[in-house]
Symmetry: C2
DNA sequence: GCCTCTGTATAAGTTAAATCTATAGGGTGG
DNA sequence: CCACCCTATAGATTTAACTTATACAGAGGC
């Protein structure tokens, strides 16, 4: 039994004549005739009686019609679902990410991403970067975002790196500089991330290389906290320019030299092939970082 | 999308390798390979990644698999239903019949007929022969059985005619005759059907032709009542040998000459084509009358 | 009664899917 | 490094579904 036979049968049952069915299916009348003849032969059912040059469905045809319609609907649904999967309207996107990005960036991006894909199921979970890395190995997530460096490297990892910028209050004397260096910040009160953070280490090396005195007056866990403190006039600081954007409205951002690299990684599943949706979202994410 | 593609896909998803799927479907490995390639191309979905010479289903394939299985089940059900219709295991058989046959013969025959066709829905309704004839025109019944003659003839009618037999009590003097004629029954107490019945008229003509005296001591509506009366020693009578069988156990049946014809008609739908089941049951009935 | 209209069936040829056999090529493990 | 297992490709074959052309059959108008 072939789908085309059922389609011809259905159209013929609904519209009564082969000529009309052929028109509706945009094929010739003999095509319907032989397809129906095949269906009758293969099912062993006499579906129509030729009576006065016209067709009349038999009671068997009416019984068969009920099932044929169900089967066609199921097949047509399969086609629809294939299209939904292809266009990302069906499926799920489970993402594990570390706190800053998961709170400040992902909700907006995922909402935008899902807006064009009604039917998509979203899931987002927030953990520290190392936990995120471990969650990824449990195969429960389609994509993870972690800060670098990780304890051990992963294949299927894409590093996104960009340069942090120096933030100063609007009225600060340094606000009109084009580039800020450690020399400009000699002894200036500074809000930094925690000592364990790679950013801290890069800054320490930069100040040391310039022979400047790095006057750390506060250490925070997140960039956002640092932004608030700088806003309050506690000093200057350094931020990643993307994730922290919502918090830097009342501040001035300036390039910092030497470059302080902020590196995060997009992790894709290792065992399994990443889903098309995960790849698309990763691409989307890349464009917005 | 073709059914064969879904079958190949399902087998491949379940069994993991193309070689194994090919074995199970009794086709060659390249056949699976190209069919799957076609399915991937037509759905626009990347269903498998070729990894280390092996296949690995993508997340999209897992989503698609759910729908593919549903569609295949629906198609397979359609095949099963076609077979059930063909073998009479699906469908309905609604019969309208006059009282005697509907009570004495049909229940047993229909039960036997249905025993080999589990799933068949039965319906039987009892009316007088003229009502049965009219019910048939309402298209609600697949088959009707009426006594002849009918007020007006019908196309799609098959007449079944057989000869009535003379019934006498076991100890009756006529019980050892080979054939009984009106001459043998001259003045003998006789149980007949009602005057309006064709049987009555045929008997009257037969006795008149033989110049014998027809001594009607009782008139009944049904053969079965006549049987009971003859059993009780009220006289002799005449019955149809098939429908009355359950009531003639304690009687002797002998051929009667001249032939008294008992005629009934099998009526099939006129507007619509009769169902295969109706034809089969009509055939079955013919063999048992 | 014949002709036209409408609808179905048959014949002959085309295209593409699904199949075959034969073969190449890529990983994995002893 | 070779043997084994699996997949992909090439070229040929079969058949379903389709085409056009045409024959055939019943219904209805004149």
């Amino acid at each position: 039994m072939r789908i085309r036979q059922l389609e011809c049968f259905r159209t013929l049952m609904i519209h009564g004549t082969m000529t009309r069915a052929a028109e509706l299916l945009s094929i010739s009348q003999p095509a319907i005739s032989s397809t129906i003849a095949n269906l009758e032969h293969e099912t062993g059912l006499k579906l129509f009686v030729r009576k006065g040059g016209r067709l009349q469905p038999t009671p068997e045809a009416r019984l068969f019609f009920v099932e044929a319609e169900r089967a066609l609907e199921a097949v047509e649904k399969t086609n629809r679902v294939a299209k939904e999967i292809r266009t990302g309207k069906r499926g799920h996107l489970a993402i594990a990410a570390y706190a800053s990005i998961s709170i400040n960036l992902l909700p907006r991006l995922m909402a935008e991403f899902a807006k064009e894909r009604p039917g998509l199921e979203l899931k987002i979970i927030t953990r520290n970067s190392q936990s995120v890395r471990e969650l990824m190995t449990t195969q429960q997530f389609d994509l993870a975002i972690a800060e670098l460096p990780l304890d051990y490297p992963t294949s299927n990892m894409e590093v996104i790196s960009y340069e942090c910028q120096c933030m100063v209050p609007i009225s600060h004397p340094l606000a009109d500089r084009d580039v800020i260096t450690p020399a400009d910040l000699d002894g200036v009160p500074f809000v930094s991330l925690f000592k364990g953070d790679p950013i801290y280490q890069q800054l320490a090396m930069a100040f040391s290389a310039y022979g400047s005195s790095w006057n750390v007056v506060a250490e925070t866990e997140f960039f956002s906290t640092a932004c608030e403190l700088v806003c309050s006039g506690m000093g200057v600081g350094i931020v990643d320019p993307v994730v922290s954007r919502p918090f830097t409205g009342n501040l001035v951002l300036k390039p910092f030299s030497p470059a302080i690299k902020y590196e995060i990684a997009l992790l894709l599943p290792t065992q399994e092939e990443p889903s098309q949706l995960a790849r698309e979202f990763a691409h989307y994410l890349r464009q917005h970082l």
